[in-house]
Point group: C2
Chain length 193, copies 2
DNA sequence: GGATGGGCCTAACGGGCGTTTGGGTCGGGC
DNA sequence: GCCCGACCCAAACGCCCGTTAGGCCCATCC
């Protein structure tokens, strides 16, 4: 083990993700956070500039992960149903692999300063756009029903993959792949007998 | 107009719902809240006992609305697909008619004291149970596919109706009925052509 | 017309907040 | 032997928090 411990700054970010997700950003004090790492509140400022910097970094990191997961799928030559299945898998995997920062991302982005706030709303539009494109492709190529409302369909898909942050438990009985396959199968084929 | 204005206490609850949903519970100060109503921070305590009392009341009110909307459906002699459509409509209507308190309900319940916190988790299990029962009924009567995973199906339905609080805008182009019909149609029949 | 009580104000309480400052300790490189 | 940088502490700064106390205004009612 050449480098046994993570850099202090990353440890701080990890603890901050956990505390922010459990208690919320404003309900977590810098002294709470420092206590988790066995130090005093003021000592944190040797490693970070401000509390908000932590929130910004957690949120940015999460949105980057979503981007990377989905954007590489954009131009792939796949049928829309297969692409939907894969996109849902990747989306849920990001949530499942980063439960804490994903929770912070969904809950605390409103507390960002205007610039960072704007970036998040922009991100949100991008993801919306990705799924709307996907649905449009499916309708055009005949894979999906022609009478679909593109916007509503995208909302339904987003609901399924985003809401997972409230109930999914890593280490439980289902892997992200299994969750995505089940959701995609139900969405694609419907619940009716 | 015999009683032109709402009781002061209700005005406070309304403003608190709006501010808590926009800024979050901990980021809203009692002086902020009082300012919305044109008074001083301390004056609020002529009408309420504490800040947490406001949160408890908002959350309780929201969960009562969900309960009333869904529980009256429980014993109704309807086929599962019709019942699902109606349940989703009622669920989304509660969200749409109470965007502020629904948002507070989904975001801020973690900040409740242990007793109130426990009541919310209990409520959550109840709603989960309602939708699982509904799916089970559908499978048993042959309305739904026999290979459905009851738990996952309930999660998918809950995702659709709950996530609406993030995107639905009252006064927009879609009524709760239309949203519910579209979602139910897609869920029941699937997206494939 | 005097008392009552609802509704609000000002002022203050103790305490916690995010952050800054100055200094101490300790291990590795010259 | 000395310095340097990383790391942390103790203490304090000014500010804002939720909440309380005491008093003023004024419509209503006996």
């Amino acid at each position: 083990m050449t480098d046994t411990a993570k850099p202090r700054r990353e440890q701080i970010l990890d603890s901050a993700s956990r505390l922010f997700s459990e208690r919320g950003y404003h309900a977590t004090s810098m002294r709470d956070l420092a206590g988790e790492l066995g130090m005093q509140g003021g000592s944190l400022y040797a490693h970070i500039a401000s509390k908000e910097e932590l929130l910004i970094e957690i949120v940015n990191q999460a949105s980057r992960q979503f981007d990377e997961a989905l954007f590489t799928l954009r131009g792939e030559p796949m049928r829309a149903d297969e692409k939907l299945r894969e996109a849902m898998f990747r989306h849920i995997r990001v949530v499942a692999d980063n439960m804490d920062s994903a929770t912070v991302f969904f809950h605390e982005w409103k507390h960002l300063s205007p610039e960072a706030y704007g970036r998040v709303t922009g991100w949100r539009d991008t993801i919306d756009g990705f799924y709307r494109e996907l649905v449009t492709q499916g309708v055009q190529e005949g894979t999906f029903r022609a009478d679909l409302d593109v916007k509503m369909t995208a909302y339904l898909i987003l609901s399924a993959v985003n809401w997972a942050y409230t109930w999914y438990r890593p280490g439980g009985s289902m892997s992200p792949r299994e969750v995505a396959d089940q959701f995609a199968e139900m969405l694609l084929s419907g619940l009716r007998a």
